[in-house]
Symmetry: C2
Subunit: 382 residues, 2 copies
């Protein structure tokens, strides 16, 4: 059997066995509608609330502050639209390296008359907090920034940012899709008002996301109708996926310390690549980063071709954010970081998970070395 | 083991074995992100498009006209908001007996300045088409009506309505949640522009819905960001649920004729109940109805108490739409039908499925007879 090495975990992860086992009974056995008042419905409702509690425990907040959605894209759209559509102020702050599901709504609300400040990043992918401080005013309704970048893994200093935002009186939304389940969070005592996350990014099911909404925060609904999710998000609850997300949250809490080992695997891989492959570079800050992500670029290499050849060898990586990977345009994140044009097209993201082994990384490294060498040689001949 | 008779299929159905089996490989084996361009991603994308084709076949339309959503509530909100937010006209028509996920957005858009006409129904739950014709004008942007009522199963004459709507130049949205998979539909040659449906109402998975959108119909996005769903609904696709919905669609096509047998079970049950229980009545038109639904009411009975006692005997029914069943207010649908107040609180919905057997209905009938008798006797004594 061909070896498969999955290094595209920032796009999606493999569901953990514990999650699978938690979901199974909810598919055909406990299939009631949580809104039904008979015994089968009440059983479903009780499993729903147990899962909400598991997620709340992971995020260290109240159960009543957790709203289930279908995806983090929905959560981001809801957070931004839900705040801005009820805001009395007309200014919003975000960055140039946000996920499309933040940039999309920002572009929309800009057309509705909001003034949008898009903060830049430096070549390491870091924000200038002075720039943020200058942009904040009494007219700022919302600041929406990501916790960790999906392409580079670079972490923004969310606590420091939160302090600045709170001083201005704005609401603070954090897209924490790449962080939840990987870094300990305590929302109870944070400055975060809204936080988006998704199950499938930390070994939970696809088709389930969530939004943390601090109590007493004003937010318009996006999906209106039934009383589900405290009357704020209508629709029959996706019980199997919700229960799976709850199980993923509990599992993540138990396994979180193990990300240090993932970081070592990542560092070893990155060090070898940068040492062995000439004209290669790391994209993003070396230290302020998720343990799971390394974004590397190789001059004189077509990333898409390299990705394809790696895939043939059973090694699955990404040439940018999965969400825009159909397109061949250079990544807006790499553009915002001012990456040397020579390195723009040869950038690949390797994203690890708790399932990744030392052998996986050895296998990936050997193939990568050989392929980069081969393609550069071909480039010289042709 | 206690016998369980599930008669709440309008709230949700049990997932079919074929659906379960189709989903399983997508949980842990083919777990790639359909947006990823490596082999695992392409495998996911191909399964996604196969499922879209299966749904399109059930509805007899093009694959490109099928958009996956998280629930029919989302589909309804999207259809209504997506049309009205881009409309140049300011009038919309709906009915008084729609699902909350249609009524909710209608109330919202009314506050945004739209004029909303809410058509009434007669005591059988039927629309007056003359009233519709009078309400339609060149200012009508959208008509949104349900195919079958979730509480009574009463069918609206969608074809005739469609003809009237088309003459006026308005768009026609149909909430077909209770109908898809149960009645043959051919959208290709219909007057329907948008149609909502949901997987879990016809033995598919929870957490997956869909919207049919006729090609070249203008519709604003609700979830913005990534390029998924033809750039109209961002977010990583819920592949296992989508594949399950595809399998449910294929299965429904094969089994659709069997609903005639379900109708016979329903008719036999209904006949016995109305004959045997004094002061009982059928809610809704006898003929123009889904085969799966009977809504019955018993004078001098508290529906919630009867429901609870039936549940104790393992018989699961609903005392109104599941979506509002937490509340004790009388159902707006029954109110709109002008149901005799004596019968308002004693109404129960029995909704069958292809899984329902003759023995199930016998068991339910015997318990129902005994319980109604007992409660009425108790009522007289107290």
């Amino acid at each position: 059997m061909k070896r498969e090495v999955y290094l595209d975990n920032n796009a999606t992860t493999r569901m953990a066995d514990e999650v699978y086992e938690a979901m199974m009974p909810c598919l055909q056995k406990f299939y009631g509608n949580p809104s039904s008042v008979h015994a089968l419905g009440r059983e479903a409702a009780s499993r729903l609330e147990k899962a909400r509690g598991q997620v709340a425990q992971l995020l260290d907040c109240c159960s009543e502050e957790i709203y289930f959605t279908s995806t983090a894209s929905e959560s981001n759209n809801w957070a931004i639209g839900g705040v801005l559509s009820t805001a009395k102020k007309n200014h919003v702050i975000t960055s140039r390296v946000e996920h499309p599901s933040v940039q999309g709504p920002m572009n929309f609300w800009e057309k509705q008359g909001f003034r949008v400040t898009r903060l830049g990043v430096n070549e390491k992918g870091l924000l200038d907090l002075d720039e943020l401080e200058k942009a904040l005013s009494s007219q700022t309704a919302l600041v929406s920034l990501m916790y960790a970048n999906n392409e580079t893994g670079v972490l923004f200093p969310i606590e420091k940012i939160g302090d600045l935002v709170k001083k201005s009186g704005a609401l603070f939304h954090v897209d924490a899709v790449q962080v939840v389940g990987k870094i300990p969070l305590s929302l109870k005592n944070s400055s975060i008002d809204l936080l988006s996350f998704s199950g499938h990014k930390f070994h939970g099911p696809k088709g389930i996301g969530g939004l943390f909404l601090r109590q007493d925060t004003r937010l318009n609904s996006m999906i209106r109708g039934g009383h589900q999710e405290f009357g704020r998000r209508a629709g029959t609850e996706a019980l199997p996926q919700i229960v799976g997300l709850g199980a993923a949250a509990s599992l993540a809490q138990r396994r979180m310390l193990r990300y240090a080992e993932v970081g070592e695997l990542r560092d070893d891989f990155e060090r070898s690549v940068l040492e062995e492959i000439p004209q290669s570079l790391r994209v993003g800050h070396e230290k302020n980063r998720l343990a799971t992500t390394t974004h590397l670029s190789f001059a004189k290499i077509e990333g898409a071709v390299l990705l394809h050849s790696l895939s043939k060898a059973g090694i699955y990586v990404s040439s940018g954010a999965a969400c825009s990977s159909g397109s061949l345009d250079p990544s807006p994140t790499l553009m915002a970081m001012g990456l040397d044009p020579e390195y723009l097209s040869g950038a690949l993201r390797f994203s690890l998970s708790l399932d990744t082994t030392k052998e996986d990384m050895e296998y990936a490294k050997n193939h990568l070395f050989a392929l980069v060498k081969k393609f550069r040689l071909l480039g010289e001949i042709c």
